[in-house]
């Protein structure tokens, strides 16, 4: 294996897309529509706009320190104990959120398809596979997710297209049934998940091999916008198909796949699509695990990165099986706590570090 791995611009943009779209594609529609109803697509676009602010700061710091990750430039800029405090708090929230995503995936599988299997098996397998992938390094991940992302987009597109006969555009009205408050509420959720995740991506950015002639930042923003549009479109499609009933669906996109019916042959294909959608979650968990590993090894200057993947994977696994007793606790963690934790332990330190770098100039 090469000592310093690098990935090119296209791969980095695709990694970002996989990271930001990955698990959200099955998880986001349910809570958003549940809170904001017909206005959910507005909330996602608003949250997306706020995500662009996070991205702006991350890219600003990347421009200043292209070879350093968030943890590394924090250590350069800040007083040592503060840097460690920021690093550890970031590691903790990323571990928690990874456990959250893992639990969400297990929940998706046990409630929709494999109802009798225990959760821990799914958690164990997905984290094991993710750890194995992380051990292979960022290059392999970039190559792998390239094809997988195309596959995921293909699956989403086919779900949307195959349902074309079921769409009822009139269900979209009225957009703001209960005013702006629910929309803003859903935006609040969206800040924590998925858009605060952009910040964790600052750990991966230094692996980019800069090619001068290729615009990088512009494409990152475009990728973010594309993500917002995809999520908004899936929300709109769910509303158009299910109408007012959509608020009762936990995984609307999965239900969209369920009602696909073409002739007598293609029907009830939700298992195929459901499992394909898991690929997104797998990508997200893998990258989160990679980020945790990066944070820990860089924070404590550990030279052998690969050695820490499995212990950290085990930690995430234990978190995922013990943190939440049931769906309601997961919902609470995801919808209320995640935003607070991510902003207070992740975003505010980032702002402080960015401010410090401005002052230092």
């Amino acid at each position: 294996m090469k000592q310093i791995e690098t990935i090119n611009t296209l791969q980095m943009i695709l990694l970002f897309q996989a990271f930001i779209t990955g698990s959200t594609i099955i998880n986001i529609q349910g809570p958003f529509i549940g809170i904001a109803e017909n206005g959910a697509w507005i909330s996602i676009l608003l949250a997306n706009g706020l995500g662009a602010v996070v991205m702006m700061i991350v890219l600003f710091m990347y421009e200043r320190y292209p070879t350093l990750s968030y943890v590394q430039y924090t250590k350069v800029l800040m007083w040592k104990p503060i840097a460690y405090l920021f690093g550890i708090s970031l590691a903790l929230i990323v571990i928690l959120f990874t456990a959250n995503i893992t639990y969400g995936m297990g929940q998706f599988l046990t409630t929709s398809m494999l109802k009798e299997s225990p959760l821990y098996i799914f958690h164990f397998l997905i984290i094991m596979v993710a750890s194995l992938t992380v051990r292979q390094g960022i290059e392999v991940m970039a190559r792998m997710f390239h094809g997988m992302l195309y596959f995921l987009f293909f699956i989403i597109l086919s779900i949307l297209v195959l349902n074309i006969t079921h769409y009822h555009p009139e269900y979209l009205q009225p957009v703001l049934l209960s005013g702006w408050k629910p929309v803003l509420h859903a935006t609040y959720v969206g800040i924590g998940f998925p858009y605060m995740d952009i910040m964790y991506f600052a750990m991966i950015l230094p692996y980019l091999k800069r090619e001068k002639d290729k615009p990088f930042k512009r494409w990152m923003y475009a990728g973010l916008l594309l993500n917002g549009i995809i999520l908004a479109v899936t929300i709109i499609a769910s509303i158009m198909v299910f109408g007012p009933m959509v608020t009762y669906e936990k995984f609307p996109i999965f239900q969209l796949a369920r009602i696909i019916e073409i002739g007598e042959i293609i029907q009830r294909v939700e298992s195929v699509f459901g499992i394909a959608l898991i690929i997104g979650t797998y990508m997200k968990i893998t990258m989160m695990l990679f980020i945790i590993n990066e944070i820990i090894t860089q924070l404590f200057d550990l030279s052998n990165k690969r050695a820490f993947v499995f212990p950290l994977g085990l930690l995430v696994y234990l978190f995922s099986t013990t943190s939440f007793n049931n769906e309601i606790e997961l919902g609470e963690s995801g919808l209320i706590m995640e935003t607070i934790l991510a902003v207070s332990l992740g975003f505010i330190p980032l702002l402080i570090v960015a401010g410090r770098s401005l002052v230092k100039r």
Binding site: L114, Y150, S271, I275
Partner: protein, 515 residues
């Protein structure tokens, strides 16, 4: 022909290990010394001769009878014949002095001759099928190449039959194989390097490449690994492949093999390195990439459209061979709603009274099938057909009647078996046979999720696997759109030529782009 031999370096190596013994001036001493080396080797023949006008000069001819089959071993006469035109006179009147002068000055001889002066060289030459001539009073010997062993003649390769195209296949002779390749590729860019490997076998191993077409880093990596192999005995090209490949435990072969010189030449033109071993017809093509295993030599001899469709059929065949039993298990045990209801009822009907779950049923049937496959490989041909009839009956009919398997399972297993034969490279087909079973276990325990985990692991392995430092899954692994097209379609030759011209630009871009 640019054939470079590395004899000299090898001789140096031997000098390091054991000091060489000079040949003696006395013929008898030499004879005893050689006899001491070849004790109990009764195929070494010693012939003594007398020459010169009074028949008072003595000479000794030594050779290994078993590898010098076609030769009349009286090379002494030839030695003299060579001298006659120059020294004028009768063959019987040649003196030792004249012989010495002539060969030391390297006069014109009718056959290639090596003048050697070390005892070790004598034994080495004897084993290579040389005839060694020694003279009383001269501490040097003459060695003539007379190697001849019966070999199969060039015929059509059994395992790589093509409807259209050349019928020639490689044989067990390295020189002839290289000749078959060289005669198709008359270019001074074709470089051939021959070395001897192995402590006991001293197998001649050759590799060849087309200079300028082969990527420099691949060649460097190949040569590095090639030089690392020294004392390993190499009997077949597969030994060589195993010693050089990146991952020995991978189910996927990382090098292609062929027995067709035309395939070898097309590989050379495509920037590959080929390796050959004396004594085996198999030609190794390195590096081998995943997608290349779906390409058959006959693809380029047939019409584009047809070849493209056939290639897609092969890819489908591989996917079926890899995953059909596991998909069937997952569907029938976990995701029954996916099967159209009428078909589901039919399956349930046939499965009635089955004692085993789908997994066990599938494992039993696949085990039967694999057993049958192995048995028919080993059996003599006349019995083989009888066994396959019995096997077909057992797998097909009897197992259904006996209640071991359901008819649907027989269809699944049979289809899997047939699909696994659709891949042109036998070695590559075995990967699906190995990976099928873990996938089935995954599907039986966790349905579609287990299957997906299995596929992700295979995908991960393929992506991280390298062949001679090149990414094995290349046009799919790091996606390269331009080349990916060639994986599914057999593009027309006119397009390929254009691409060939651009290939230099492309390879440079790849180097730049990395990963």
């Amino acid at each position: 022909m640019k054939v470079r031999r590395h004899r000299r370096s090898e001789n140096n190596q031997q000098e390091d290990s054991s000091p060489k013994t000079q040949l003696s001036r006395k013929l008898e001493d030499n004879e005893t010394a050689i006899k001491a080396i070849f004790t109990d080797c009764e195929d070494i023949i010693y012939n003594k001769f007398q020459y010169s006008s009074q028949y008072n000069e003595k000479a000794l001819v030594v050779f290994c009878e078993t590898i010098v089959q076609n030769e009349k071993a009286n090379l002494l006469k030839e030695v003299m014949q060579d001298l006659i035109p120059h020294e004028v006179g009768n063959a019987t009147e040649v003196e030792l002095k004249e012989i010495k002068e002539f060969f030391i000055e390297h006069g014109v001889t009718s056959r290639a001759v090596n003048v050697i002066d070390k005892l070790e060289q004598v034994s080495e030459k004897l084993l290579e099928g040389f005839i060694v001539v020694m003279f009383e009073g001269w501490n040097k010997a003459l060695a003539y190449d007379a190697f001849a062993v019966e070999k199969r003649s060039v015929g059509e390769p059994q395992n790589e039959v093509s409807v259209i195209g050349p019928r020639e296949g490689t044989i067990e002779n390295l020189t002839k194989n290289l000749g078959l390749i060289r005669s198709r590729l008359k270019s001074d860019k074709l470089k051939v390097k021959i070395q001897k490997k192995g402590e006991q076998t001293k197998s001649k191993v050759a590799y060849a490449y087309l200079e300028g077409t082969v990527p420099a880093d691949t060649l460097k990596e190949f040569e590095k690994r090639f030089d690392e192999i020294n004392d390993e005995e190499i009997l077949e090209t597969s030994y060589f492949a195993e010693l050089m490949e990146d991952s020995t435990y991978s189910p996927f072969p990382q090098f292609k093999t062929t027995e067709r010189p035309d395939v070898a030449v097309s590989a050379l033109l495509g920037g590959k390195i080929i390796a050959l071993v004396d004594g085996t017809p198999t030609v190794l093509i390195c590096p081998g990439l995943f997608v290349e295993f779906f390409q058959s030599p006959s693809d380029y001899y047939q019409r584009t459209l047809f070849s493209s469709l056939i290639r897609m059929l092969r890819i489908t065949g591989y996917i079926i061979s890899l995953s059909l039993p596991s998909i069937y298990i997952a569907l029938s045990t976990f995701h029954t709603e996916l099967i159209p209801s009428v078909l589901l009822l039919a399956i349930l009907d046939t499965r009635e009274g089955m004692p085993f779950p789908a997994l066990v049923e599938a494992l039993i049937m696949l085990f039967f099938f694999e057993l049958l496959q192995e048995a028919s490989l080993r059996l003599p041909r006349p019995i083989g057909s009888a066994v396959s009839i019995v096997g077909a009956l057992v797998i097909g009919d009897a197992s259904i009647n006996a209640g071991i398997a359901s008819p649907m399972m027989v269809v699944v297993v049979a289809l899997t078996g047939i699909a696994s034969f659709s891949i042109p490279q036998y070695e590559f087909g075995t990967s699906s046979r190995i990976l099928r079973v873990p996938l089935m276990l995954g599907a039986a325990t966790l349905g579609g999720f287990g299957l997906m985990i299995g596929f992700i692991l295979i995908y991960l392995h393929l992506i991280s696997l390298r062949s001679l430092g090149q990414p094995y899954f290349a046009p799919l692994g790091p996606i390269r759109n331009g080349i990916l097209y060639d994986f599914i379609f057999r593009s027309p030759l006119s397009k390929q030529l254009r691409k060939h011209k651009q290939s230099n630009v492309l390879s440079k871009a790849n180097e730049k782009g990395g990963s």
